[in-house]
């Protein structure tokens, strides 16, 4: 199979991990690539640890097993670290994007990582200031777009705006777009 990119989203029930995976899948699909987006279905309780996944490829994707070795891990809630095994199966050069007010180097130390890349973003703060509620999934998508280079921010916003408009009032859509744009600017990498 051609190059296959796998992404794992860690969140808590209610934070939008599944929605983020689906919106990301739809946007990447619209760019012409093949995608999968699916959650791990467990007890669907608010606040319980949840997982969601993406696969992305230039070729049709036939795999229907769980994602075991994601190259990118997005953590929507830093309180999961130490409880959920966010580094499990991730290759040495894996990329982590974590919602936290800590710096990437502080987060690297917490995770005990030697290789790979670590990015951090205070997505909860951004979502409070833009959307008015702690919904970190939207800004974390902006951070993923910036750090992965999967799509240009303009492509992503155009597609995601369409999807959000189908579900939400115009002012809510704008606030979500603002959150994505701020995250795109504010995500921090290591020096």
């Amino acid at each position: 199979m051609a190059e296959l990119l796998e992404i794992r989203w860690h969140g808590r029930g209610g934070q939008g991990a599944k929605t983020a995976a689906i919106l990301m899948g739809e946007a990447v699909s619209a760019s012409g690539k093949y995608i999968q987006a699916f959650p791990e279905y467990g007890p669907e309780r608010m606040g319980a640890p949840v997982l969601a996944f993406n696969r992305i490829s230039d070729e049709p994707i036939r795999l229907h097993c769980q994602v075991a070795n994601p190259a990118i891990v997005v953590v929507l809630d830093a309180t999961l670290i130490g409880k959920a095994d966010v580094t499990a199966g991730v290759p040495e050069d894996g990329l982590y994007i974590i919602n936290t007010n800590l710096s990437p180097s502080e987060m690297r130390e917490q995770l005990g990582l030697t290789g790979g890349k670590v990015y951090t973003l205070d997505a909860t703060q951004i979502s409070m200031e833009t959307i008015g509620r702690p919904i970190p999934n939207t800004p974390m998508m902006g951070a993923l777009i910036r750090t992965s280079g999967l799509l240009t921010i303009d492509e992503f916003i155009a597609n995601t705006r369409d999807r959000l408009e189908a579900k939400f009032r115009p002012d809510i859509v704008e606030k979500n777009i603002q959150a994505i744009e701020r995250a795109y600017q504010e995500v921090q990498g290591e020096e």
Binding site: A30, I35, Q36, A37, R62, L63, H64, C65, Q66
Partner: protein, 394 residues
């Protein structure tokens, strides 16, 4: 024109149902099939279809109402999963016995107990002798394509049998992937108008449906059911040929993947076939002669064609996502062994793996391990364990 979209299996089947625009749909929600009917109900309430939508109080009633509508002369559909299909049980046999061309998506899910909402094939495998045609689907694309083709297959005058089109619960029903959807008018033209020859609302030509049928004629009517099934294969192939003309996608009785020159073959149903094809490609890169046969039509069972495709292989593994509890392996394995009994040439060593019950993941390493086992069997000529439970904690 086809358009490629990002879509879940349930969304794809709800879209196919909207495009089919059946006269009547009667349904009761059950996970993981609920979304199909839920999304379709939106189409009903928004006036995008002409369907009479009947909300009922149970799956037994859903199938009963669908049978009534079909007998009246309507193109009638429903959808369900697992316990819902189990509750339809007695009505499934009636739909087939009355020769009603009902089409129903069934989203495969385990049966209780213990309670489980995730994928295995226990539900539809249990319905395999009900007289329904069964068509299995690897992903959303196949489920969508199969559902549209099923209308033509069921309603064919040589057939007149109900068809269930299945896909894997959650893995496909709720997982988003890509599929190419056909234009509404292309689907409508392909399925055509439903013009039943005999139906209850034809008041000029009154008929009796569901009459008492004792030892004098019952046997003949059940014999006719088998005769109808014997016509299904040709119709499936003819419909597939016409479907290729509108879609570009090719369907056969089963999917033979790198099988022709393969020495070791896995036979598998539904979504795990996609994972297994990836393993086939990886092992082929290493020069190993492995292949795969994915079941599409399971009832009737294309036993001659499948036996021919597998004859001469050095070893075959059949993967069942359901158990028969006969202690001889899963339902697919038992059928395949019977099919291979009369196949020409030397006997092909066959083993069975029961996997994925209740949604247990089956991964690349496990499937590669099955191919390893086959090579070992071929090398030693010995089968130490005919039936293996793959990925279970013993």
């Amino acid at each position: 024109m086809s358009k490629r979209v990002a879509i879940t299996g349930n969304e794809a089947l709800a879209e196919a149902m909207r495009q089919i625009n059946p006269d009547v749909v009667a349904a009761y929600p059950i996970t993981p099939a609920t979304e199909i009917v839920q999304i379709f109900a939106d189409s009903v309430s928004n006036g995008r279809v002409d369907t009479e939508f009947v909300t009922v109080e149970s799956e037994h009633s859903a199938m009963s109402a669908t049978i009534g509508a079909s007998a009246a002369g309507a193109r009638a559909m429903t959808a369900t999963s697992s316990q819902g299909l189990a509750l339809m049980w007695e009505m499934l046999y009636i739909a087939a016995g009355l020769r009603l061309p009902i089409v129903a998506p069934i989203v495969n899910r385990a049966l209780s107990a213990p309670i489980n909402i995730h994928c295995d094939h226990s539900d539809t495998m249990g319905a395999r002798d009900s007289g329904w045609i069964q068509i299995y689907s690897e992903d959303a694309q196949e489920a969508y394509d199969n559902l549209i083709q099923a209308i033509r297959i069921s309603e064919h005058p040589d057939v007149l049998l109900p068809t269930m089109v299945t896909m894997d619960g959650f893995i496909v029903s709720h997982g988003m992937g890509n599929a190419e959807l056909l234009a509404d008018d292309v689907v409508q033209k392909f399925i055509g108008e439903y013009e039943p020859e005999h139906y209850l609302l034809d008041v000029e030509n009154p008929i009796t449906v569901g009459a008492l049928d004792f030892a004098d004629w019952y046997f003949e009517h059940r014999r006719q059911l088998a005769d109808a099934h014997s016509k299904v294969q040709d119709v499936v192939l003819q419909v597939a040929k016409e479907f290729k003309e509108i879609s570009g996608r090719e369907y056969k009785l089963f999917d033979a993947y790198r099988l022709d020159d393969a020495e070791y073959a896995i036979v598998v149903i539904n979504s795990a076939a996609g994972t297994a094809k990836t393993v086939v490609d990886e092992l082929r890169e290493k020069g190993l002669k492995v292949g795969l046969l994915k079941i599409r039509l399971f009832r009737p069972f294309p036993h001659k064609e499948i036996a021919e495709a597998l004859s001469g292989k050095k070893a075959v593994a059949v993967l069942d996502r359901a158990d028969s509890l006969s202690l001889m392996g899963g339902p697919l394995y038992i059928d395949l062994r019977a099919a291979m009994y009369d196949s020409p040439g030397s006997r092909v060593p066959m083993v069975n793996y029961i996997y994925g019950l209740g949604g247990r993941d089956v991964n690349l390493e496990q499937i590669a391990g099955v191919y390893d086992d086959l090579m070992e069997i071929a090398k030693t000529g010995k089968i130490t364990q005919p039936v293996t439970y793959l990925g279970v904690r013993e």
